[in-house]
Subunit: 268 residues, 2 copies
């Protein structure tokens, strides 16, 4: 059984999962955090289920060798294709971002018409659709893959005419279908929240799973009695599979501050 | 020394290099071709030089084990970061796409003001700038990374208002600087040639290195007397590191016909 002094491990295909790390750090300031970004093989959202599962396993192994007490899969595509595999194989609690986000969406919707946007992999997997339907069988669900949102977010091209035109094109069918809630089913999308909100209009609630996920992390640690009881003195450690330099640059945009400790790991 | 009956090996980060394969197949119909797309780790254009060089070496090893007589690096980013390494290390002729494209641009420009567009990696490497300047010291060169062009091409969103607005934004500074020739320094960009041409206007020549590269392939094979002397009866073989299914789908869009023989290789 893991113990309370061990860090929480978080992994993502790249920088996107930093939105999840930020919420966990905010809600659980006593916890030590280790984050792995598989930046050499990013993105996962366009890759096949088998490849994503293989990469997710490799990421989890790195976190295990860093003695984490739980693993957070802070990537929607990896959550969609590999969460059950990791839960079966790892001797630790493993949490994805899909169920926490789906729960928030079910609480939010009034007309029971919900939209889900994400990568081609996440949307095509049916993971959100299955989870939402299990939580609330009567729900009507509309999905749209939004493949340009990740490169827009990574380029920092998050406002203005072009991103708005792209968002309108992606969201138009689900808006015409009357969704009152849209799940941002990719960890990059919170960076485009302003533009997505303009396209969706003021009456549509945007659900960001990062905060919902941090809430479930807190519940799991409390339930297993492995929450940290002493204040964390070290800032998060970051592990990456591509160059630490570009991660530092992009990561600062996601977190709004510099990242202190970034190391390269050789798994890709 | 390789012999004339061996196939030509071509690799790219994904499907983009199929534009190069198509030109080689058209110009050299007697040659057998083996194409490797590193689709599990695509894209290379956002990755660091070390990571791209590592991946390029792994791709070249796969081609060597398939008994190729020469290696064509059909990816601008890999050509920028790994061509010299591969030329040093491999016991075979190795050709990239940058020098052939740069030669065409030098022949095309009248006012000696040339633009280069490509991935962040290719543009940042300075490879085109160095090659162009070596060929024609007086040239004025304007560059622009166009990170959204690859996802646009892969999504097939190649015409209309949004791609045009993106192209205008990327090209505007170099057009104002008076370029009369623009090198399409990424193998995906020929799919957006129509839209890029609308943004650039009718007086600007767009240089596509795929055809220029096929010309140099023919020269090298003739020079070494290893050109095939008997008609090829087999269609190209395709090797991929992610699922053959998605490559088949995207590849058909690039080549305009179905791909017959696609195999998965385990290097990623």
């Amino acid at each position: 059984m893991p113990d309370s002094t061990q860090p929480i491990g978080i992994f993502d295909s790249g920088v996107g999962g930093l939105t999840v790390l930020a919420q966990i750090a905010r809600r659980l300031p006593s916890e030590r955090l280790v984050y792995l970004g598989d930046t050499a093989r990013v993105p996962y959202g366009t890759k096949s289920p088998d490849t994503v599962a293989r990469y997710a396993r490799a990421c989890a192994r790195v976190l295990l060798s860093n003695h984490v007490k739980m693993v957070v899969v802070a990537c929607n595509t990896a959550s969609a294709f590999a969460l059950e595999i990791l839960q079966d194989e790892l001797p630790l609690p493993v949490l994805g971002v899909i169920e926490p986000g789906a729960r928030r969406a079910v609480l939010s919707t009034r007309n029971k018409v919900v939209g889900v946007i994400g990568t081609a992999g996440t949307v095509g997997s049916g993971a959100y659709q299955n989870t939402l339907t299990a939580l609330e069988p009567g729900l009507r669900i509309h999905t749209a893959p939004c493949p340009l949102f990740v490169p827009l977010a990574e380029e920092g091209w998050i406002d203005g005419e072009v991103p708005e035109a792209i968002a309108k094109k992606y969201l138009d069918p689900m808006l015409r279908a009357g969704v009152d809630t849209i799940v941002l089913g990719c960890t990059h999308y919170p960076l485009l929240k302003n533009t997505i909100g303009l396209a969706a209009g003021p009456d549509v609630v945007l659900v960001d799973s990062a905060d919902a996920t941090s809430e479930v992390v807190a519940e799991i640690l409390a339930g297993l009695q492995i929450a940290s009881t002493t204040a964390a003195t070290d800032s998060p450690r970051f592990l990456v599979t591509d160059s630490p330099d570009s991660f530092a640059r992009l990561g600062a945009r996601f977190l709004g501050h510099e990242l202190a400790d970034i190391q390269w790991v050789d798994i890709a």
